[in-house]
Amino acid sequence: MSDVLARREHALTPDETAELIRAKVGDAAVLGTTVEYGTFTLHVANEHFADVARACRDERVLAYDFFDCLFGVDARDEGFDVVAVLYSTSTGNRVALRTRCPGGRETPTCPTLTDIYRGANWHERETWDMFGIEFPGHPALEPRIFTIETFEGWPLRKDFPLASRVVKPWPGVKEPAELDEDGNVIERQPQLGDAPGPYELDKAMAEQAKLANPQAAVDPATPEGEEVEDALGTEAEQASDSGAVLAGDAEHELEQHEDVRSEARERAEEKRKAAAEARARKAAERAGEGAEDGEVAAAAGGAVEPGEDQFPEEATSEARPDGTESWGNESDAPPVGGDSDAPGVPDEGDIGNAGEPSAPGDEATDAQPTGGEQGDAASTGETSNAPASAEDSPATPVAPGEHMPGDERTDGGDADAPHQGSGPSDDLDEREPGPDDGEERS
């Protein structure tokens, strides 16, 4: 049987296909066609979805015999789309049948294709599992095919948060939605996201994320959304589905209301301040334990390696016996010189330094290299030092005041903090956040 592409010459064009379907199934069946990026999409009325698929399979000139896939797409407020991709081995044509499910976001339903294509079975189960789209007539949508049987919610819906970001916020600025055109940070909460902090901070951040959601989920079409420049518009929109932001069902309903939004914003602001204070307190406590102040500064500046941050006691005990040496014996730290001369007083912890990002001497830089050396600095790169570098780089052409007046995300003057002109951050600057370093090497 070598009839693959045997009838390629007789393949119908998209318009002819639509005409044929209209003739066979009825004018109401086809709502329109689009051909974009080489993909032919046939928009089908939901009630005729199965009929159209059947016609696609049975019409000799169409002969879509290969069932490629079926899946759902979140169509924002209008509910969900279901797309079925069919392919014809004889003509080499592909069509994507796309239909909008009635029932909005509450009870989306779609006719089943299981009695037309065997392969539709699992794909529909998957679509139900991921989007909650019912397929009346399907043999057995349950049990859930991918998630566990007791799972609640529909994971691929946009209002479903990315669970991993709820459990533990990403300890750095890596969400693409948080960077602007030049790869600079536009959403900065330096006090919270700098390094994996104590559990309270994580909780606070998760709380904040939850509160921030209604604001973040602004429809770009709203006046406020139009004010912001394009990048920010998308950024704001994506923030709604980025995991840093939670959206429960309740919030989803509320998000249309401006006042609620601003209120939430205020609350978020408060929360964040509280968290910042808590953090400062923590840092102070650590300083009180007798750590060398350079280290304290580093800790407070957020440029501490995660590992170090989690074992402050160990660090201090190491530092105590000989104040001048402290971190110098760390394997990956640069030569000791900087430590010994910068802050000579080991015990009188200069807490004042703690708050200033400019203060960290070599300690802060010591902490950085491990992160900076990771490949693909821009996209997946550094972990803990990312906040620091973001803080350090006032190179952001978008000044914080400009891009979203009154938006709590352009947080204060932190971005204005003086550049930290030490080695590793130079290293970071060389690596442009945006593009890959591939070009240089090629």
Binding site: M1, F67, F71, R118, Q238, P435
Partner: protein, 395 residues
């Protein structure tokens, strides 16, 4: 074919193994009736290489019905991809089918490039092809080895591992990765091939061809192997198409469908791509197609050696890769079958929806059909010959 066709199906398992002409048949129910047994093969079972679970309803050793249970390894790639930009996703997609990282990446970059209408340098395209074909051989070698293992032949696995090592060595030199390459990026590949790569590649192919011939001799013509696979788990072509089965499993049914031929991407339209075809769609044919595809890949690699031009391997990317609004569907020939990406973008940096249509998902879906009425050893023989990677099924 209609709905009734689907429900009422004749199960025939032609006995073509030597010495099976004298088929003993028990007429009627036999002297005493027995209760069925439910056998849960997996999630941790040697034959499912991964965490696939197949629940078999059995009467004695005969499988009355089979229910694959998947999802033990669902990692939510499609959700994760919505939170990453396209370059970050590159490190994501080479993990769902961990044996075909290169093809997975190529599928995604092609999708992104198509939406960006990006011109990719010639050399980058040839390099992608070269690596993808090597990756295909890697993948198939593993399945050749593991399929032997499932039938009780332990040696092919060792042979295959040795050849895999050499290819992995080569690919590691080019990409830095042995399994997850992250070598592609929109607009080209990360870095040019290292010096001496092509030379080594040219030298490797004849060796490889010889060794694969060894594997073929060891298994394909082996009497016991034939007795175990000929006529086992036959898949009719129309059923295969209806299930969306692709790759060697589809080619075994006699349909020479190969994306590289029917919808050429990269430079596949400039090289000759042989497509092996089976006859009955049984396990033996599937295995035969697997071996045939390896030979085809080697043939393609040899053509690439002659054709690969010099030049740049990537383009300067904007700092932010943003696909314009719209959607597209791109299909590439993964080692295990057809891999499709439906990318729907709202103009942002992250995809609005990235659907991965994976070959294994559709292939595994045909298991209930294939396993019904087989014996347990044949069930394993079928399970192994419908080549799948559990990560690719569950995503």
């Amino acid at each position: 074919m209609s709905a009734s066709d689907l429900s009422a199906r004749e199960i025939s398992h032609p006995a073509t193994a030597p010495g099976e002409n004298l088929n003993l048949e028990i007429v009627g129910d036999g002297a005493f009736t027995t209760a069925d047994m439910t056998l849960s093969v997996g999630p941790a079972h040697p034959a499912t290489h991964g965490v696939l679970r197949v629940v078999l309803e059995m009467d004695g050793e005969r499988v009355k019905s089979a229910h694959p249970v998947i999802g033990y390894m669902h990692r939510g790639f499609e959700k994760l991809a919505e939170h990453r930009d396209f370059r970050q996703s590159m490190a994501l997609v080479n993990r769902h089918d961990w044996l075909s990282g290169m093809s997975n990446e190529i599928g995604l970059v092609l999708t992104v490039e198509r939406m960006l209408e990006m011109e990719v340098p010639e050399r980058a395209q040839w390099i992608r092809m070269l690596c993808a074909e090597y990756n295909r051989i890697l993948n198939h070698l593993l399945f050749v080895g593991s399929y032997g293992l499932e039938l009780g032949a332990i040696t092919p696995m060792f042979y295959a591992t040795r050849e895999r090592e050499r290819i992995q060595y080569l690919l590691e030199a080019a990409t830095g990765g042995r399994l997850h390459y992250t070598y592609n990026q929109p607009g080209g590949v990360k870095i040019d091939l290292p010096k001496g790569f092509l030379q080594q590649s040219v030298e490797l192919i004849p060796d490889l061809r010889k060794r694969i011939q060894d594997l073929e001799d060891l298994l394909l013509g082996n009497e016991i192997f034939m007795a175990r696979t000929k006529g086992v788990g036959p898949l009719p072509p129309d059923v295969a198409l209806s299930f969306g089965v692709s790759g060697p499993t589809l080619q075994a049914t006699g349909i020479p469908e190969d994306v590289r031929v029917t919808e050429p991407y990269l430079k596949y339209d400039e090289v000759e791509v042989p497509v092996p075809v089976g006859e009955n769609g049984d396990s033996w044919d599937r295995f035969y197609c697997l071996l045939g595809r390896m030979k085809a890949s080697m043939y393609i690699i040899e053509q690439i050696h002659d054709r690969i031009p010099s030049g740049p391997v990537n383009v300067k990317l904007p700092k932010m890769v943003k696909a314009p609004e719209g959607s597209t569907y791109v299909r590439v020939e993964n080692p295990l079958g057809s891999l499709g990406y439906w990318l729907e973008s709202d103009g942002g940096r992250t995809p609005w929806r990235l659907k991965m249509r994976t070959a294994s998902f559709s292939n595994v879906q045909s298991l209930p059909y294939l396993l019904e009425g087989t014996l347990v050893p044949d069930a394993i023989s079928v399970l192994g010959s419908v080549f799948f990677v559990v990560g690719d099924v569950d995503r």
